[in-house]
Every structure is written in structure tokens, then in C-alpha cells.
């Protein structure tokens, strides 16, 4: 990247979209909402991580995983284990028959910490595990499935089965996992009380920060050649294969990437909400996560963030005023998003709002033309066409700039 290009990027149309999201999350919401509501938004944002992963994995590469909750949950459990160990000091747990181990272990007659809990005394290990454990599982699943060309509906159902297996396991092994109650009563992160309003607000901003980090990683990937390969793979898998690409490796990569995002989201969820339970791993939770992505627009990473925010806000709103209607609304959302507007909000934005913007931008066309004017630019070849006629061609949020013009 040229030193001058970040500034230019921020004034490009795509940059403005990012700025708008940042403005919403960093300025408007914190000012407009009390700490309680802001904390709820923080919780919604943790789902946005999963949704971004799904955009990459499902929207771009066509791999629909109905088991993203597994990775969300694993990330969350890793963080919860660390926090639980911190909360279970020998002093705090003095009334137990074995002080110093988490309370639920004591209730289940465990007398010492299981070996796989030990490393979670270390915060750096935990941070590594939050990303590493989901990625490792994704890698194993991916390796087994993609090299054998399991895809589409089969993959979806198998991931669903994995979600079921993990849920039953966690619930069944309650001495090691906390069972159906999950890991609860998490209080401090390295001595810092995560339950206070100030901490919740801080955690909200940490969420926002991490979210943008993930957005930029996702954006980087989709704008590199790798991103184009993912899209190409979705449409013409064989052509990609016979252009000399190991399709399985790319699928594994993007599946692991989505798993890592989900893991980060899960870990932040644990911090924001203060506990983790198997109900976020199961089938229902996992499929709900898909709708966040689908509503936002399955091809748009920014759309995914809005999708996660809107669906969850609607869910909270509905369940406060018309709880019985919520499942109807949610069901209608699934059907509507698939039948009526398959490209979600981003697609609608592109078809209805963008033309308006187009007219506004016309007045100062400089902004868009500028990047092409860079020194070593050779003519047309440097400027991939803008003509995304079909909605599914491009991420609508970024289509009007050129990925390789650095």
C-alpha cells in the first residue's frame, strides 16, 4: 500500500461505507444508548463475527455450514474456562470439598482439575485457543469433507450433526463442562471486573475494534486473488480445479477462516454476557446465525454486520412487546430473504439506494477516478470493470473500486 492510499481509501465510496459503520458503532450508538442497551448491542456484535465468516464461507465460496455455532461455542468455552479458573480461586471456593476447582466440578465429585483445563490458567494460551481450537476442528472437518468433495446439502447436514454431537457431549460430560447450565458466574478478567458498567462499555469498544479487525481481514482476503477464486469456485468449481487450483485447500482455508471469526465472536460473547452455555452450539442457534448473514446480504461483509444487528435488535424488540409473534417474524424472514430478496439488505441497498448515491457522486467524480491515476498504472487492464450488472457479481459495498490498485 502506498502511504497516500489509506487517505484516498477513506474518501472512496467503500471507505465511506466503513466510516459510516464506524460512526454508527463508535459514536452514535454509545451516545444514544444507555450502558444496558449498549451492552446488548455488544452482544449482537459478537454474532456479527459469525456472520462475516459465513459471508466468506457461504456467500463467497458456497459452503453452507449449519454448524457455525460449534466454533462460536468453542471460542466461547475457551474464554469461559479461563475466566472460570480465575473466578475459582481457593479462597473464593473455600466451602467446596476441593477448593480451587470450578464449582460445578466439585458438585460432580471431581477432585482435581482435568488435564485439558490446566493450560487455561494462561491468558496467552487462552487467546491462542480461542482462535486455534475452532480452526483446528474446522481444519479436520474440512480436510475430511472437502478432499472427498462433500459439499452442498451434504456438508450442511453433516455440520448440523456435528453441532448435535457436540451439544450432547457437553451436556453429558457436565463434570468437565458444566453441562446444560454452561460455565456461569464469570467475574473478572485478569483482576478486572467485567460486570461493571464501565467494563461493559469498554468491552463494547473492544468488540467494535475486533470487529473492524476481522472486517479488514475479510476484506483483504476477498480483494486478493484468493477472494476471486472463492467466488469462481462457487460458480464453476471444475473450471477452477482444471485451472490448476487445489479446490479443497481453498475450501479448507475459508472454512477455517470462518471458524476463527466465529471463535473470536464466541470469546467476546463470553466476556460481554458473562457466561457460556451449550445452547449456543446447537442446531437452532447455528441456523439462526445463517439468517444474520442472509438478511445482511450473503455477499457483503458489511451487510453481515448490519444483518446481525438488525435481526437481534428486532428479536429483542419483538420479544418485549409481542413475544408470540417473534417466531412468525423470524420464519417469514427466512422465507422472505430466500424468495424475495436473496441478496439481503446489501442487495436492496445496491438496487435502490446506490442509484441515488450515483447521482450525488456524479457531482464530484474525482474521488472515484483518482486511484486509477497512479503512476505505474497501465491502461484498462489495471481497472477491473465496474459493470456488476447482476447483484451477485460483487460485494455491492466494494464494487466501485479496484482491488489491486495498490
Amino acid at each position: 500500500m502506498k502511504s497516500s492510499s489509506p487517505m484516498k481509501w477513506f474518501t472512496s465510496r467503500e471507505g465511506l461505507y466503513y466510516l459510516a459503520l464506524a460512526g454508527l458503532l463508535v459514536v452514535i450508538l454509545p451516545l444514544a444508548l444507555d450502558p444496558f442497551r449498549l451492552n446488548m448491542v455488544g452482544k449482537y456484535l459478537t454474532y456479527a463475527f459469525v456472520a462475516i465468516g459465513l459471508v466468506m464461507c457461504w456467500g463467497k465460496a458456497g459452503i453452507l455450514s449449519l454448524g457455525q455455532g460449534v466454533f462460536f461455542g468453542l471460542g466461547g468455552y475457551c474464554m469461559a474456562m479461563f475466566l472460570k479458573l480465575e473466578a475459582s480461586t481457593p479462597e473464593a471456593t473455600a466451602i467446596q470439598s476441593t477448593p480451587g476447582i470450578p464449582d460445578f466440578m466439585d458438585w460432580n465429585q471431581l477432585t482435581e482439575l482435568p488435564w485439558f483445563w490446566e493450560p487455561f490458567h494462561s491468558f496467552s494460551f487462552t487467546l491462542l485457543a480461542v482462535i486455534g481450537v475452532p480452526m483446528l476442528l474446522a481444519f479436520i472437518i474440512g480436510l475430511a469433507m472437502f478432499t472427498r468433495r462433500v459439499g452442498g446439502v451434504y456438508f450442511a447436514i453433516i455440520t448440523q450433526a456435528i453441532a448435535a454431537i457436540l451439544t450432547i457431549l457437553i451436556i453429558g460430560q457436565q463434570g468437565y463442562t458444566g453441562g446444560v447450565n454452561g460455565i456461569t458466574d464469570l467475574q473478572t478478567l485478569m483482576g478486572w471486573d467485567i460486570r461493571s458498567d464501565a467494563a461493559k462499555t469498554t468491552l463494547y469498544f473492544v468488540c467494535v475494534g475486533m470487529l473492524f479487525l476481522c472486517l479488514f481481514v475479510a476484506r483483504f482476503v476477498q480483494n486478493r486473488k484468493l477472494g476471486r477464486i472463492l467466488v469462481a469456485m462457487n460458480a464453476q468449481e471444475n473450471r477452477v480445479r482444471f485451472s490448476g487450483y487445489d479446490v479443497a485447500a481453498f475450501k479448507i482455508f475459508v472454512f477455517c477462516l470462518a471458524a476463527a471469526f466465529a471463535g473470536i465472536g464466541g470469546a467476546l460473547f463470553t466476556l460481554v454476557v458473562g457466561f457460556m452455555s451449550p445452547s449456543f452450539i446447537g442446531i437452532v442457534a447455528s441456523i439462526e446465525m445463517v439468517i444474520f448473514c442472509a438478511l445482511g446480504g450473503r455477499l457483503s461483509i458489511l451487510g453481515a454486520v448490519y444483518g446481525a444487528l438488525l435481526v437481534n435488535a428486532a428479536k429483542s424488540g419483538f420479544s418485549e412487546s409481542f413475544p408470540e409473534l417473534w417466531p412468525f417474524a423470524m420464519g417469514a424472514l427466512f422465507i422472505g430473504v430466500v424468495l424475495a430478496f436473496p441478496n439481503g439488505l446489501a442487495g436492496l441497498y445496491q438496487s435502490y439506494v446506490m442509484p441515488l448515491e450515483e447521482r450525488l457522486f456524479k457531482r464530484k467524480p474525482k474521488i472515484e477516478a483518482e486511484p486509477a491515476a497512479e503512476p505505474e498504472a497501465t491502461p484498462e487492464a489495471r481497472k477491473p470493470a465496474v459493470a456488476a450488472t447482476e447483484a451477485r457479481d460483487y460485494d455491492p459495498m466494494i464494487e466501485h473500486y479496484s482491488p489491486e490498485k495498490s
Binding site: 444507555d34 444496558f36 451492552n39 446488548m40 452482544k43 466451602i95 470439598s97 464449582d103 460445578f104 466439585d106 458438585w107 460432580n108 465429585q109 450432547i168 451436556i171 453429558g172 457436565q174 453441562g179 446444560v180 447450565n181 454452561g182 456461569t184 458466574d185 464469570l186 467475574q187 460486570r195 454476557v273 458473562g274 457466561f275 452455555s277 445452547s279 449456543f280 429483542s316 420479544s319 418485549e320 413475544p323 408470540e324 417473534w326 417466531p327
Partner: protein
């Protein structure tokens, strides 16, 4: 205490007018029963912590799942709590203030419970929360309610191992339910061997652990212990195992939809519970569950709980009548529903004893608070925030009701951390 007579006038059918009439009858009778309310004390005196208390009202929260899978179980609790609140209001309210409630839906989703409890405490500043059903939802609420120093009245029988200064447990903890039940089976039915069967989560596992320890102590045998995932619907294999082991007692803590499958398949496999070979003793099937299972499938099983709808005492007759008049004649009332009904009354008693809505002041006076009008008879709050209560054994009838066949003589002491049972 003056006895209360439900007059025939209060029994008109239908929700609207009948409800009001029964309330009026009740109000009149309760007014008679309790001493005449003194003029309401000043708000500043009774509320020093910024709760939602005004000169003529106080706001509480109701937090149960009314959507999702748990709605089945929790709706009865909501109804009972609302009924209690209406009745208290009709009798003059609490410290001269009318109770208003904010109801939130936990949606069978634990973080939602945490979120909603935070909302109730932070935004609505409720003076008490009546709510939660599953242990998981209570565990989710717990940190929130402790952080903001609220008070939760939790109605479900549960596994124990908890004693929060911010929770009042109006249901039984595991030992109260289990020990009396097993003792009864051993003494009255001569049981020697037991088969423990439950859904796979903390409450059945903890309950069975307590049961097993107790059976060991009595020098008797546990011949099998088995758990099935929540929602499991195929029990043929375990039925065969039971037939192979021939236990005297099946001690069952299966919950939810699995229950229906389990009892139907037991019945179909030729097990006639009325033969009591083996005898089935459950701690999870209340009258509510029987509605889904079908009375003909559970006829003859025994349940060990503190409350059955058929309990024959004036308090309960009155409660059952009021409940049915409010919510319809086809309603049944299970153990948890009754425990939920206790919540608002115990809270009222505590507030009036403390002379304040402040949580800290209420907490100090909890120990020893009695509720003589409890449908289950008489309850008293133990200093560990659980209730002293009697345990009863009911025998299921084909009409879906239990016939009470045994009742402990004394109130059972609640013991959430039972020494020797962990």
C-alpha cells in the same frame, strides 16, 4: 386466622366476571383475615435504594419463558404469580401499595434471561423478580441479580448446591424431595433395589447422586443408572434393561417430551404400573406433565413432591378454585405452579415484616417468615433461603390427578449442601 369460605357466588363460569367476583370474594375474605392495613408509610422511608416504588404502587418483574421449548412448563408459573399478585392487590397491596408488574419473556434462551433480568433491575428498578424455571436460566440470572442486588423468587424444585443471598427458593431442593420419597418406598413398599433413570443434565444427575448415596446408606442396591439426551424419544433398550434387572423401584427424573415417550413405551411394553412391579417413583412428573403423557399411561406411578392439586385442605381448595376460575376449568396445577404462587406472598410477608422494600432489609428478616395460607399447607423460610416444607407421595390416577398416599409428619428441613451426599 378466620376461615375463608368460597361462596357459590364466586363460582360463575368464564374468565371475565367470574375472575373479578372470585377476587372480590377473596379480597373480602383476606381483608377479614389480615389485620386492617395501616395507612401507607412514606415512600422515602420504605424505599431508600431507588426501586420502582411510588406512593401508591410498587413494580415487580415476572421473568419466564412464554415462547420456545420451555414455555410449556413456565406458563403455569406465570399464571400462578399473576394470580397471587391480583389477590394481594385485592387485599390491599403491599405496604398500602398496589403491585404492578413488568413481564418479560426469557424465550427459553439463557442469555435472554440474563439480559431481561438486567433490564428489569436496571431499567425498571423492580422490587422483586418472580421467575426462571430451569437451573440454566437461574444460573444465567444469578450473577446479574447478585451484581445489582435484586431478589429472585425461584419456584422450581431443583438440584440444590446453591444458596444465593439474592434468591429465595420456593420449590424444594433435591434432598427434601428425594430422601422422603426413598424412605417411603423402603418402609411402606419394602423396596430393596433401585434403577435410576433420568434425562441427561444437572438436575437428574445430582438427584440421582443423592438418591444413590441415600440408598447406599440404607444398605440397599442400585442396579442401574442411566441418562438419555433431552428430547430423546426411544426408550425400548432401557425398558429391556429394566426388565432384565428387575428392580423393585424405578426412580425416574426424565423431563419434557422424553417423558411422554418413556411412559407410553413402558405401558406398551406391558408394564402395568398399578401392579407396582416394579414400582415407579418419579420426582419430575407433575399434574402438568400428565396432561401431555395421558393419565392412562401413568396410572399407578408414584410421585414424590411437596404439592399435589388434590391436597385436601382449605387453603388449597380455595387456591384451586381461584386458579380455575381465573384461567379456566380445564387447568391443572402442578408442584411448580404452586411454588410460584408462594413467591409474591412470601415477598409481601417479608416486606411487611421489614417495613421496607429495600432488598437488604428484607433479606435480614427472611429467616422464619411464615406463610400459613400456602396451598401446600404451611411453609416457613429457612435461613438458607429455602423453604421448610412437607414432602408428599402421590399415586397417579387415570384422570391425571394424584391421590396423596403419604405425607411427612414434620416439615423437611431444606439442605442445599447436604453433608455426605456430595
Amino acid at each position: 386466622m378466620g376461615t375463608i369460605e368460597m361462596t357459590a357466588g364466586g363460582r360463575s363460569i368464564g374468565k371475565g366476571p367470574g375472575f373479578r367476583k372470585s377476587l372480590m370474594t377473596l379480597a373480602a375474605s383476606v381483608m377479614l383475615a389480615t389485620s386492617v392495613q395501616a395507612a401507607a408509610p412514606a415512600t422515602a422511608e420504605v424505599n431508600t435504594t431507588g426501586l420502582a416504588v411510588t406512593d401508591d404502587s410498587v413494580t415487580v418483574g415476572i421473568l419466564h419463558s412464554i415462547t420456545g421449548t420451555m414455555a410449556i412448563s413456565e406458563i403455569g408459573s406465570v399464571q400462578a404469580e399473576k394470580l397471587a399478585i391480583e389477590q394481594i392487590n385485592a387485599s390491599g397491596g403491599v405496604l398500602g401499595r398496589e403491585i404492578k408488574y413488568v413481564q418479560e419473556d426469557g424465550a427459553s434462551d439463557w442469555p435472554t434471561f440474563a439480559e431481561k433480568s438486567r433490564k428489569l433491575l436496571r431499567q425498571d428498578n423492580v422490587a422483586a423478580i418472580f421467575g426462571a424455571w430451569t437451573s440454566a436460566s437461574r444460573k444465567a440470572i444469578l450473577p446479574v441479580i447478585e451484581q445489582y442486588n435484586g431478589m429472585l423468587y425461584y419456584p422450581t424444585f431443583y438440584e440444590g448446591l446453591e444458596q444465593s443471598p439474592n434468591v429465595v427458593y420456593t420449590g424444594q431442593e433435591a434432598t427434601q424431595q428425594i430422601l422422603a420419597g426413598i424412605d417411603w418406598a423402603v418402609k411402606e413398599k419394602g423396596a430393596k433395589s433401585f434403577y435410576l433413570l433420568g434425562s441427561d443434565y444437572i438436575w437428574p444427575r445430582t438427584s440421582n447422586k443423592i438418591a444413590r448415596k441415600h440408598i447406599d446408606k440404607l444398605g440397599l442396591k442400585v442396579v442401574g443408572e442411566e441418562y438419555y439426551p433431552l428430547g430423546h424419544t426411544q426408550f425400548n433398550s432401557v425398558i429391556n434393561k429394566i426388565k432384565l434387572k428387575k428392580p423393585d423401584v424405578i426412580f425416574a427424573s426424565v423431563v419434557g417430551g422424553s417423558n411422554v415417550a418413556f411412559y407410553k413405551q413402558m405401558k406398551a411394553a406391558g408394564v402395568d404400573f398399578t401392579d407396582e412391579k416394579p414400582l415407579l417413583l418419579t420426582i419430575s412428573v407433575t399434574e402438568d406433565e400428565i396432561r401431555g403423557i395421558g393419565g392412562e399411561n401413568v396410572e399407578g406411578i408414584y410421585a414424590s413432591m411437596k404439592y399435589f392439586q388434590s391436597l385436601d385442605n382449605p387453603n388449597n381448595r380455595e387456591f384451586v378454585t381461584a386458579f380455575k376460575e381465573t384461567y379456566g376449568d380445564d387447568m391443572v396445577i402442578g408442584d411448580v405452579t404452586q411454588a410460584a404462587y408462594l413467591g409474591p406472598w412470601l415477598w409481601k410477608a417479608a416486606v411487611e415484616k421489614a417495613g421496607s422494600f429495600d432488598i437488604d432489609k428484607i433479606r435480614e428478616v427472611f429467616a422464619g417468615i411464615e406463610f400459613k395460607k400456602a396451598p401446600e399447607g404451611y411453609v416457613r423460610i429457612h435461613e438458607n433461603h429455602h423453604l421448610w416444607s412437607k414432602t408428599r407421595i402421590g399415586k397417579a390416577q387415570i384422570d391425571g390427578q394424584y391421590e396423596v398416599v403419604f405425607e411427612t409428619e414434620e416439615l423437611m428441613e431444606p439442605d442445599p449442601f447436604p453433608e455426605g451426599y456430595q
